[in-house]
Amino acid sequence: MQVNEKKEFEPVIVAFCCNWCSYAGADLSGTNRLNYPTNVKIIRVPCSCRVNPMFILRAFQRGADGVIICGCHPGDCHYTSGNYFARRRMTLLFSMLDFIGIERDRTRVEWVSAAEGAKFAATMNEFTEAVKKLGPNRRLEDLRCRKQS
């Protein structure tokens, strides 16, 4: 969590993007100068199936307020099946986080192709807004990692 000068809540958002589609889609939204908030920081992974649930929990532990995983559209995976595995894993993980009472809007999976710069920007805008509304992540934070402010 960051707090800007106006003391408005600025969420920390981690976006895992697959190298072949979504990371390229993010690049395209840059090339087209489509704005989305600075809250979003992208981590490049080879494929959405590289995203381990441990990474997501780690992000929440260290102060992330929202985590989004972006990959190629189903059927378009560079590795043919990676996003299908990712989809099952993330569906079950998110369902479990929801089950233990973590706000479900803090997590999301979105398929963004290399041609969908506009979708990438729109998704990030939407997601940031949704997380902002939820406020700081309190239910899945690690107090030892909370920033002094």
Binding site: L57, F85, F94, M96, L97, F99, I100, G101, D142
Partner: protein, 323 residues
């Protein structure tokens, strides 16, 4: 029943079919049971028990036992056979070194539940119809069996042995159980209520690791929680995050592999209903990807190592139930 089992064990030892027997032995009290390995008929006569309290699932012990020389005889209750099958499927047990004998089970008793009824100083327990006759140092007591039955046995999923070399008694059937009722109840709560429920439960965790150590799906050579390089290793439930993370990651690691044997909740000294986390995964898997029972066979693909192009999107989590 115990007599038939002991005779079978001695017979197989005597004719050299097996070299060791894995079963249970009692401790100080008849309800104080631990799994044990027996090598001679004398040891068996002296210590072997199989009664209403021998509920420990011995399949996990076979991971180590089958690494040794010789064949081991294992007595498996119906629910244990699922764990056994799953471990064979994952190449953790060398099935050629095990002789499995299926034994019937109509539910095991939970000594804690009996004690909670204020009954102590138990000397012996006998079944009489649907009642228990309990002989205690303070005199005779009676209790309804269903009041003393283990929680997991009250929602038993199957009395069918999915694998065995030999069977004592008759095989049962897969039964339709109410095992997902509590999960559903939680699902119907609000997120805040669920959060409060799990906080109240998981905050009791003392990180004794009993759930992990007993779990037949947790047989990793080195557990990520013990591995300093994994980035999530931790030895103590230092704060709420770690309490949550430990149990979520553990449940996720066994998702699609957990046979719902219920050992985790049975051994939890804090009585945390850990099986609900596993059942949540099982329930989700069944409803989203089709019915799947881990351990029911040794060749099907586990749900998390499989996919369909038509699988639902992760947003299904956002769209259903109560927020």
């Amino acid at each position: 029943m115990q007599e038939a089992i002991i005779n079978k064990a001695k017979e197989l030892l005597a004719d050299g079919r097996v070299d060791r027997v894995i079963g249970w032995k009692k401790g100080e009290f008849s309800y104080d049971i631990t799994p044990a390995v027996f090598e001679t008929a004398e040891e068996i006569d002296a210590e072997f028990v199989c009664n209403d309290f021998t509920s420990a699932n011995v399949s996990k012990y076979l991971v180590k036992e089958t690494k040794k020389d010789g064949t081991v005889l294992a007595f498996l209750k119906p629910c244990d056979t699922y764990s056994f099958n799953q471990l064979v499927k994952e190449h953790r047990i060398d099935a050629s070194k095990v002789y499995t004998v299926g034994i019937p089970c109509d539910g095991k008793l939970d000594p804690e539940k009996i004690k909670q009824k204020g009954i102590s100083g138990i000397r012996s327990i006998e079944k009489d119809g649907d009642m228990l006759k309990i002989d205690t140092v303070y005199g005779d007591e009676t209790l309804k069996i269903s009041d003393a039955m283990s929680e997991r046995c009250l929602s038993c999923k199957s009395r069918k042995h999915v694998c065995y070399d030999e069977l004592i008694g008759e095989d049962g059937d897969v039964i339709s159980s109410n095992r997902f009722d509590m999960v559903e109840q939680l699902e119907n709560m609000s997120a805040q209520e669920r959060y409060d429920f799990w906080r109240s439960q998981l905050s009791k965790c003392i990180r004794c690791n009993a759930c992990r150590n007993v779990c037949p799906a947790c047989t990793c050579e080195k557990c990520v929680f013990d591995n300093d390089d994994s980035g999530i290793s931790n030895k103590a439930a230092a704060d709420s995050f770690e309490e949550n993370m430990f149990h979520v990651i553990r449940a996720f690691h066994v998702a699609g592999r957990c046979t719902d044997c219920g050992e985790c909740s049975r051994v939890c000294p804090q009585n945390i209903p850990l099986h609900l986390l596993n059942r949540k995964f099982i329930k989700d898997i069944n409803s989203l990807y089709g019915e799947y029972q881990a351990g029911a066979d040794t060749d099907s693909r586990a749900p998390l190592t499989d996919y369909k192009q038509s699988d639902c999107e992760a947003s299904v989590v956002h769209e259903r139930g109560v927020e």
